[in-house]
């Protein structure tokens, strides 16, 4: 047996390493399954490395900029330039802090305005690295319960997507533009129900809103919000709007509208993960 294996080592290894991934894919592809151990390990290691490298890159680029700016100048110019750099850096830092503060304030406003939701802040650590999926990776900043699959991810502007895989404080978020994305939605103020389906288009952040043929034609600029019927996304979160209803088309038993999504994921830095509905406040003093 050992002799046979030694003689046929290459085909044996090839067959083994081609069959094993098929099993992994089968397990990973079952939508009902939770995150498996190999997925958790892979996500943890890659997520950690992406976070560390991303942070280090920011520091290195800052140091390199300072170095290049100061080398080869006369002493006086160096001093003046240093002063200028320092003041500029302070101004830029102040501006950066103001922008960051504004973003965080918006997130805080969102948390305040949606007290019915249990929201936890998160930072985007990596964006899509494949042309086929519209998925990003988040690092959730929370001491509480870690994120879980099927939790919604939002910003003040609207819905971002949902967690498809999570381990520790890292989560993969399927964006609304992914072809596999499905969100139960309604037209704000009109009660027309439908399904938002990702377009997958890598060059434009679009989705398709499918409604029944019996529904009236939507007007230009109709705002689409989540209906909450899928029990994944809370009701009333803005998803996008219909820019050109005249370009609607037939898609099987549905009428399909293009929808411009409310949130552009390319510029996302901070988001909120909806961990669930907030527990109702009990009046104090009750027995």
């Amino acid at each position: 047996m050992m002799d046979w294996l030694a003689r046929h080592r290459f085909p044996a290894v090839v067959i083994t390493l081609l069959i094993l991934p098929l099993g992994l894919m089968y397990v990973s592809g079952r939508r009902d399954s939770s995150t498996t151990l190999p997925e958790r390990v892979a996500m943890s290691v890659a997520g950690w490395l992406q976070g560390v490298v991303g942070g280090a890159l920011g520091g290195v680029s800052g140091a390199a900029t300072d170095y290049v700016a100061l080398v080869g100048l006369h002493e006086e110019n160096e001093r003046l330039r240093a002063d200028n750099e320092r003041l500029m850096a302070e101004a830029l830092e102040a501006k950066r802090l103001a922008v960051e503060n504004q973003g965080l304030r918006r997130l805080m406003e969102m948390r305040q305005s949606r007290r019915d939701l249990d929201l936890v802040p998160a930072t985007v650590v990596a964006r899509e690295l494949t042309p086929f999926f519209r998925v990003g990776r988040l690092s959730v900043e929370s001491d509480g319960a870690p994120p879980q699959a099927d939790q919604a991810v939002v910003t003040l502007a609207g819905l971002v997507g949902r967690v498809v895989r999570a381990t520790g404080s890292t989560a993969d978020v399927m964006l609304l533009g992914d072809t596999r994305s499905r969100v139960a939605c309604e037209v704000l103020g009109r009660g027309v129900l439908g399904m938002m389906v990702g377009s997958g288009n890598p060059d434009a952040y679009l989705a398709r809103f499918q409604v029944s043929q019996t529904e009236p034609i939507l007007e230009k600029g109709a705002v689409i919000v989540t209906s909450g019927h899928d029990r994944v996304f809370p009701r009333g979160i803005e998803v996008g709007y219909v820019p050109r209803p005249e370009e609607r088309r037939q898609a099987g038993p549905f009428v399909e509208y293009d929808v411009v999504l409310a949130v552009n994921p390319a510029s996302l830095q901070d988001v909120l993960v909806v961990r669930g509905m907030a527990s109702p406040m009990r009046p104090s003093g009750n027995p």
């Binding site: 390493l17 991934p21 992994l24 498996t36």
Partner: protein, 171 residues
């Protein structure tokens, strides 16, 4: 040792890819670094070691591909290594022109394999022809830049073994 270093370099490059391309305002998915690593292994390694290393390259790619099926890149890179090994016997992958052509072919095949495996294993996958087109920019950019992308991996060889697989490149 050599394979482990190549994998570490690949993981670091992939971790750098997203933030650097983000700073440049370019889609990070335009470069397929794991494919380059697999082709490099096919052009410079022995069959068995190269195949195992390529499968691990696929696993690294799976880890860095949020939303994908774990195992898909492992399978694809294993298959691509075997293909590239056959092609490397005819076309020297350390020369720019054959490398660009082999990269283009491999990248196209990778897209087709992704489509096939997604249909077979990903229950949420919606088979649409456009999906095949989305891989086209990645295929073109990766193929054109393949000779340059070989250099970090060639650097590892130079460091570890004193080998110079890239000596003939870019001539």
């Amino acid at each position: 040792m050599r394979s482990a270093l190549l994998l570490v370099v690949l993981a670091l490059l992939m971790a750098l890819q997203s933030p650097i391309f983000g700073l440049l305002g370019v889609r990070a998915s335009l470069l397929d670094l794991p494919l380059i690593a697999t082709l490099y292994l096919a052009g410079t390694s022995r069959a068995l070691r190269g195949f195992v290393a390529s499968a691990i390259v696929g696993l690294v790619a799976d880890a860095f591909t949020p939303g994908g099926l774990l195992g898909m890149n492992t399978e694809i890179h294993g298959i691509l290594f075997l293909l590239a090994l056959g092609l490397a016997a005819r076309f020297p992958l350390t020369r720019p022109v054959p490398l660009v052509l082999v990269t283009a072919v491999s990248s196209s095949l990778k897209t087709l394999l992704f489509y096939l495996f997604s249909i077979l294993f990903d229950r949420a996958f919606e088979p649409r022809v456009e999906v095949l087109l989305w891989g086209l920019p990645t295929c073109l950019v990766t193929a054109v830049l393949a000779p340059l992308l070989f250099l970090p991996f060639a650097g590892v060889d130079r460091l570890v073994q004193g080998r110079r697989p890239s000596e003939t490149m870019l001539r």
